[in-house]
């Protein structure tokens, strides 16, 4: 019987996590890594489509005066 493989999305998440230095977490807590990845996907989708790529981000850059 073939070994059950994790789904593609989990592999993607694990690859991203490892790239972010979370190799230890991937090994010890794969379900937590998957849950974190899912929450990021939800957060990104809640942002919606970008309406105006040229809009100024908030907070804006401000010059800090020397004290």
């Amino acid at each position: 019987m073939a070994e059950k493989k994790p789904p593609e999305s989990a592999l993607d998440a694990n690859a991203l996590a490892c790239a972010a230095g979370l190799g230890k977490a991937v090994k010890q807590f794969p379900e937590d890594v998957a849950a974190a990845a899912r929450s990021a996907v939800q957060a990104r989708s809640a942002l919606g489509a970008q309406k105006n790529a040229a809009a100024e981000p908030w907070p804006p850059m401000r010059v800090r005066s020397a004290s």
Binding site: A17, G21, K24, F29, D32, A46, L47, K51, P57, W58
Partner: protein, 474 residues
């Protein structure tokens, strides 16, 4: 003097002025109550009885020698254990920082000390103000004094629980996505998240830099104003500190609601997320009370709750990841599971997501500011459900995100939660009021008017009965 533990800071100050009791007597009574009841509440991580009694002796000498420093002189306060007190551990309720001893006071602690407040100790929280309630941490989670089987809200759980249990009249909380207002509402007390930048964050362990607020939690609106008078002020060493702070936050507490224009943000809890019917009924009644008191109340629309909360979430994930990345890489097992899951989320967001959220943020701040052209105060839900059982993970995960607090971390507007009902199960329900940026005076005026018109602030949890029963059994 059996009820010293329910006195407000304002009442304590008046009692000192009349020499009815001393700070030492008050602190002694509170320590006795904490010893008796905290084993079932777990509000404190570290109780500094010796230090508090020494501070009380000094406060008594000064006050009774005619050298009272102000309204908080000799008033006991508790500090959420994410805020530094020099020489004491700041653990953030985490194994990660168990050995972390603060070298200097946080700005807010320094301000409280200068005002003569007595530091009782450090209060429990959700790990790093995000992961809880958790049972896999070095300290147990705080429990709700109204029913110890239910959660007290978070992340300033110990602060809310300690106030509701009568352990102290003022506690400090922090609020990044609602962490002052959640436990305040859930424990039936008052929680004020001031305007972003009004209270210094220096010496407070960050969760998400652009969302973090520090504020007072109390049992009365007047005490919230008194505490804010001490806490607010510009701090050149906090880059986010506001350039001005007016003080005198209780100036309009007696003005009442007449003439106030209130916008009732019904769609948050009636269509964006459907609130529990008992919450909906309590909010309707709160709006009726304000109308009866002379305010004009009209329905008003803000952006959808999901849009506001969704953008806040990107900041929370991205910024908290930036703070915790190194520990998560090296010591993932030292976090509670809840924290680990939440804090790793930012690893999966891109720089583009963060900038996109910043663009949306300005649009949403402007939308909320536009609403304030027509009204003085927004009234809306706090939590959309009464507190669930503390050990019901599934229900906790379902109900925790059902809230209307995080939008105002995103926009920075001042917001206050206070009790406006009791569920059939005997748990507090709260209303949230929101003011214009830097208009805490009007926000506190509205809250004081509501408080005066109702008796929710006089309700106490049935904890004493349990405590008495326990003592009788012993």
């Amino acid at each position: 003097m059996s009820d010293l533990h329910w006195l407000s800071a304002a009442e304590i100050g008046a009692a000192y002025a009349a020499r009815r009791f001393s700070p030492v007597e008050l602190v002694g009574a509170l320590l006795e109550r904490i010893a008796s009841l905290d084993p079932q509440i777990h509000a404190f991580i570290h109780l500094d009885a010796k230090g508090a009694l020494a501070a009380a002796r000094l406060a008594g000498q000064e006050i009774f020698a005619g050298r009272a420093r102000g309204p908080l002189h000799g008033v006991p306060v508790g500090i959420k254990d994410i805020i530094d007190i020099a020489g004491e551990p700041t653990t953030c309720h985490s194994k990660i920082l168990l050995e972390n001893i603060a070298r200097v006071d946080a700005e807010v602690v320094g301000r409280l000390r200068a005002a003569g407040a007595i530091l009782l100790g450090k209060l429990s929280l959700h790990e790093f103000a995000i992961g809880g309630p958790s049972f896999d941490l070095p300290f147990p989670p705080a429990r709700n004094p109204w029913n110890v089987n239910h959660h007290p809200g978070g992340s300033s759980s110990g602060s809310g629980a300690a106030l509701a249990a009568g352990f102290l009249p003022i506690a400090l909380g922090t609020d990044t996505g609602g962490s002052i207002r959640n436990p305040a509402g859930t424990c039936g007390v008052v929680g004020l998240k001031p305007t972003y930048g009004l209270v210094s964050r220096r010496g407070v362990f960050p969760l998400a830099f652009t969302l973090d607020h520090i504020g007072p939690m109390t049992r009365s609106v007047r005490d919230a104003a008194l505490a804010l008078d001490v806490l607010a002020g510009h701090d050149a060493r906090d880059p986010g500190s506001a350039a001005f702070a007016q003080g005198g936050f209780g100036a309009d507490l007696e003005r009442g609601a007449r003439g106030l224009r209130i916008g009732f943000v019904r769609h948050f809890h009636e269509s964006d997320m459907i609130a529990h019917p008992e919450v909906t009924a309590a909010l309707d009644e709160a709006a009726r009370v304000m109308k009866r008191e002379g305010a004009s109340v009209r329905d008003i629309r803000l952006p959808r709750l999901q849009d506001l909360a969704g953008v806040q979430r990107v900041f929370m994930l991205a910024e908290s990841w930036a703070v915790h990345a190194q520990w998560l890489r090296e010591r993932p097992a030292d976090y509670a599971q809840v924290s680990r899951r939440k804090l790793m989320g930012g690893a999966f967001l891109s720089a583009g997501d963060y900038v996109h959220a910043q663009q949306r943020r300005l649009e949403l701040i402007d939308a909320v500011n536009d609403a304030f052209h027509d009204v003085d105060i927004l009234v809306c839900a706090n939590s959309l459900d009464p507190a669930c059982r503390i050990d019901d993970e599934e229900e906790g995960a379902r109900t925790y995100p059902r809230q209307a607090r995080s939008p105002f971390n995103l926009t920075g507007h001042p917001a206050l939660a206070m009790m406006c009902g009791l569920s059939k199960g005997g748990l507090p329900i709260a209303v949230q009021m929101v003011g214009r940026a830097h208009d805490e005076v009007t926000l506190l005026r509205a809250a004081a008017a509501y408080e005066r018109a109702t008796d929710w602030h006089t309700r106490r949890p049935p904890l004493e009965k349990a405590g008495n029963a326990r003592r009788r059994r012993a």
